[in-house]
């Protein structure tokens, strides 16, 4: 009699790695959501809660607008599955249908955070920041600069809410005083998103 050895393949319930198409998803029988994308991690499946995170920032010089405007982040810090869409949209676009949409899992919990800094050469001043979902504001925040000499003024906002396939999330910013520069660079301004879990709504 030979003793059978198990390789673990018996328990591998995932589909084979993907080689064509965009981001694809798979909900296993333990209700874990997996995603895969050709060319990312060899097309192998990864848990959505492990890998659906992304962060971007503005690196090039930028003048803050007085009107509430989309924050034009131009550099990706980490976005393995390519959910950030740059110019001219400047948005996180939630993965396509099949990952967080459909009859089984129509929406998911996501968390977004945006932070930016104004190089203020005048005071008083205040800066605004918001997160928009599909063109409508879902958060708002501002920070007021009270000191009488020049300095920096930072603002931040965050959102934990539901998102569906193809929803767009954008950061908005403004300054009450015109022609002031944004403090640019990865540690100074960031816009990030994180998959938090399935809603099962």
């Amino acid at each position: 009699m030979t003793i059978q050895a198990y390789t673990g393949a018996e328990l591998n319930i995932l589909p084979p790695p993907v080689t064509t198409g965009g981001i694809q998803s798979f909900l296993d029988l333990y209700r874990e959501l997996w995603i895969a994308k050709p060319g990312v991690n060899g097309g192998n499946w990864r848990k959505a809660r492990d890998v659906l995170h992304a962060s971007v920032y503005r690196n090039a010089a930028l003048v803050a607008p007085t009107a509430n405007s989309v924050f034009p982040a131009d550099t990706v810090i980490r976005d393995p599955y390519g959910i950030w869409v740059g110019s001219p949209t400047y948005a996180f676009v939630l993965p396509v249908a099949g990952s967080v949409s459909g009859a089984v899992y129509p929406a998911s919990w996501w968390r977004f955070a945006f932070h930016w800094v104004l190089q203020s050469a005048t005071s008083p001043n205040y800066v605004g920041c918001q997160i928009f979902q599909n063109g409508s504001g879902v958060t708002q925040d501002n920070m007021i600069m009270n000191q009488t000499s020049a300095g920096n003024c930072s603002a931040r906002t965050q959102y934990m809410g539901l998102g569906s396939a193809n929803d767009t999330f954008q950061a908005y910013y403004s300054s009450s005083v015109a022609s002031l520069n944004v403090y640019t660079g990865p540690s100074i301004n960031t816009f990030s998103c994180a998959f938090m879990g399935l809603f099962f709504g």
Binding site: E10, L11, I13, L29, Y30, R31, E32, R49, W109, R111, P124, Y126, S136, G137, V138, T139, Q140, D141, N142, M143, I144, N146, R156, Q158, M160, G161, L162, M196, G197, L198, F199, F200, G201
Partner: protein, 189 residues
């Protein structure tokens, strides 16, 4: 010779079809915590890290208290499981563990030189955060926010205590309205 087939390992308890309240189960194989509730998704078990997220906001006109007191939110948002509790719509922990908690307030000011003080609290007794935001402006919005990583036991309440010396009105317009409390379960700790 027959080829043996394997059933997928499913060691979850059967769906919950009686009783009230949220029940939990820790999967011994993976350590994953699951919750179930009679009448929610047919009583089927769901991963706590997927579904234990809570967002409640203030939709009706409301003036902040002038001395520290619990903030009365009035609308739980997508609260399928009923995490909200009591007339203040605070959060109730049905499983122990680490939770990320955040809250935001905004009022319209009518005079210069005022502030908002806010604290995230456990069971109306233990402070987990303290934040204070000041404005020199005589009009416009005064925004404040606070956050904490809290460790909660079963039955613990999470709420926001705050005050604003003049008792200015909260901003309640928007979809969702901006003044809110949010809680996310992160893991067992």
């Amino acid at each position: 010779m027959t080829i043996q087939t394997y059933a997928l390992i499913d060691n979850l308890p059967p769906p919950v079809t009686s009783g009230s309240g949220i029940q939990s189960f820790t999967d011994a194989m993976t350590g994953e915590v699951w919750i179930a509730k009679n009448g929610v998704y047919g009583g089927a078990w769901r991963k706590a890290r997927d579904v234990v997220h809570f967002h409640t906001y203030r939709a009706a006109a409301y003036n902040l208290p002038t001395a520290s007191a619990v903030i009365v939110f009035d609308t739980p948002w997508h609260d399928t499981w009923g995490f909200s509790a009591g007339s203040n719509y605070q959060f109730t922990a049905w499983i122990p563990g680490f939770y990320r908690v955040f809250s935001y307030l905004e009022v319209s000011v009518a005079a210069a030189g005022t502030y908002i003080q806010m604290n995230l609290m456990q069971n109306n007794a233990t402070n987990w955060s303290s934040d204070n935001y000041f404005t020199s402006r005589a009009s416009g919005g005064l925004c404040a926010r606070t956050q904490a990583l809290m460790y909660l036991s079963i039955g613990d309440l999470v709420n926001l205590h705050a005050y604003q010396p003049q008792g200015y009105p909260c901003i309640v317009s928007g979809s969702p309205p901006p003044c809110h409390l949010e809680v996310s379960y992160l893991g067992t700790g």
